[in-house]
């Protein structure tokens, strides 16, 4: 019962969704429309679950004084601050429990939630990802080595695209006569993106698409059950 009823549910839901595509009339379209609304609400709870798990895990590390527990405490404090600010005064145009917090907003120049978002979250998020620029530069030096025909193809294309997508490409081959415009770096880069690249990416899309259709069918038919977890 604990396993078979969810399997039947997944089958029924998936089947009705597919059926409504071919019979887009009552009651199928109404059922699917209702399911879509429910999906959104349940997803909300799923995210809530994720946040609670994260907090539980961090609290466990702090309570048991595991290595680096001080940093987790800082994380928990920042979580609490942002949450309290958001609940009390809302964010941007959205009012919170205590309204829009005109007093504190005029003092800070923005709502406290937005102040934290702009001055802490934004720089942290953007900088964390910008570190990858350094790593890719290092990878270009260490790992991007010609070893055979395939790596040659990869290298040549990469070089053409790197040059062609900037001003350097425009300058380097801008002098070419009209009859040789195909070899102008930006045009050559566009050609690569439009044809050979699109061909390979399309092959990936079609192949992955077939895989997704297959695994969706396996889920609906109850062959794939890993999402149900253990046997208990």
């Amino acid at each position: 019962m604990k396993r078979s009823l969810p399997l039947i549910l997944a089958f029924l839901v998936g089947f009705v969704v597919i059926l409504s595509e071919f019979i887009p009339h009552r009651p199928f379209n109404q059922i699917v429309s209702t399911l879509e609304q429910w999906f959104m609400i349940i997803s909300g709870f799923a995210i809530l679950l994720g946040q609670i798990s994260l907090i539980r895990m961090n609290t466990h590390k702090i309570v048991n004084k595991l290595p680096d527990w001080q940093y987790y405490l800082a994380g928990l404090i920042s979580f609490a601050l942002m949450l309290i600010f958001g609940i009390l005064w809302g964010m941007q145009e959205t009012p919170g429990l205590l309204g829009s917090g005109e007093g504190i907003s005029s003092w800070l120049g923005a709502k406290p939630f937005d102040y934290l978002f702009t001055n802490a979250y934004m720089p942290l998020s953007a900088t964390l990802f910008s570190l990858l620029a350094f790593f890719i530069a290092s990878a270009a030096y260490r790992a991007f080595i010609i070893r055979g025909l395939e790596s040659n193809l990869l290298m040549i294309t990469a070089v053409i695209v790197i040059i062609g997508r900037t001003s350097i490409g425009t300058m380097l081959t801008g002098w070419l006569p009209e009859s040789m415009q195909f070899w102008h770096f930006p045009i050559l880069a566009d050609f690569i993106m439009e044809y050979p690249n699109s061909a390979a990416q399309r092959a990936i899309l079609i192949s992955a698409g077939l895989g997704i259709v297959g695994s969706s069918l396996r889920i609906i038919l109850g062959i794939e059950r890993s999402y149900l977890g253990g046997e208990k």
Partner: protein, 274 residues
């Protein structure tokens, strides 16, 4: 002199830092060429009649705002220039703030544009593809209110917009999943609404096959370069254009690194052979 791996790495990092910083301090003013992918996006917005309602979906967070925020600002400006009304939505929660920041910036040049009449921020909804499908049936069910808590039916510009089919085009600025692919799959392929947009450069090669004869995607802005191309088409000296010098120099430097790395590998191989 043989450098250790750590020292080598630190030299690479420092040189890259300088290569990006110097062109920002001393701009060169190089120009770039506009690709067809960008031109198609521009044509779609340009040929859409006035007073039509359009959707710009902010499907990204601050980590990729350098690439996508200039696109958002340029597309909003272009839509307003053509007197189109802009609905902002977000499949990523941080997109709501990104939308507000973009509106605030473009409003400096278009102070006459009014919230509720010329633009509205409907905010974030979870669920990706399923939610976009729900929007195709009934927008009001998905968005009972905008982000100011104004009821959907009380927003003047949404009077005749009941579902996705009632908008002229949808632009998704996307840095991952859910994003432009979900919009294309549902809004274009299921409800036949033109879908366009932009994405981070890293995901652009994977989306180019959708810019095909059937126009699954109406063009695509790929990364900062795409944003700067769009800015040049609408005649805006935006933040993407000013960053292209640094981008070009950094690309040149990466090529030098690739060359040096290959020279080193070649030399090591020859030494091993001898």
């Amino acid at each position: 002199m043989k450098l250790t791996a750590i020292v080598e790495r630190r030299i690479i990092y420092s040189v890259l830092l300088l290569a990006v910083a110097l062109p920002l301090i001393f701009p060169i003013g190089w120009t770039t060429e506009v690709s067809d992918y960008t031109r198609i996006v521009y044509e779609l917005v340009e040929t859409t009649p006035e007073d039509k309602v359009v959707i710009v979906s902010f499907d990204y967070d601050p980590s990729t705002m350098t690439e996508l925020q200039p696109m958002a600002e340029a597309m909003i400006e272009h839509a307003w220039k053509r007197n189109q009304k802009v609905i902002a939505t977000a499949l990523w929660p941080m997109g709501v703030q990104m939308a507000e920041q973009a509106f605030t910036k473009v409003l400096l040049d278009y102070p006459e544009k009014k919230r509720g009449e010329d633009f509205v921020n409907l905010g974030y909804k979870v669920g990706g593809m399923v939610t976009v499908q729900a929007m195709g049936r009934n927008l009001m069910e998905v968005y009972p209110t905008d982000n100011q808590n104004t009821a959907y039916q009380d927003i003047p510009m949404l009077k005749n917009v009941r579902r996705l089919k009632d908008v002229a085009w949808i632009s998704s600025l996307s840095s991952g999943v859910p994003g432009i692919k979900e919009w294309m799959m549902v809004a274009r392929d299921n409800y036949q609404v033109p879908v366009t947009g932009g994405c981070t450069a890293i995901s652009a090669p994977g989306f180019f096959p959708y810019v095909n004869e059937q126009r699954q995607l109406y063009g695509l802005l790929g990364g900062l370069k795409g944003a700067s191309e769009y800015e040049s088409l609408i005649g805006r000296l935006g933040s993407a254009t000013t960053k292209m010098d640094a981008q070009s120099i950094a690309h040149l430097l990466i090529l030098v690194f690739i060359g040096l790395g290959n020279y080193r590998a070649f030399r090591n191989k020859r030494r091993q052979n001898s």
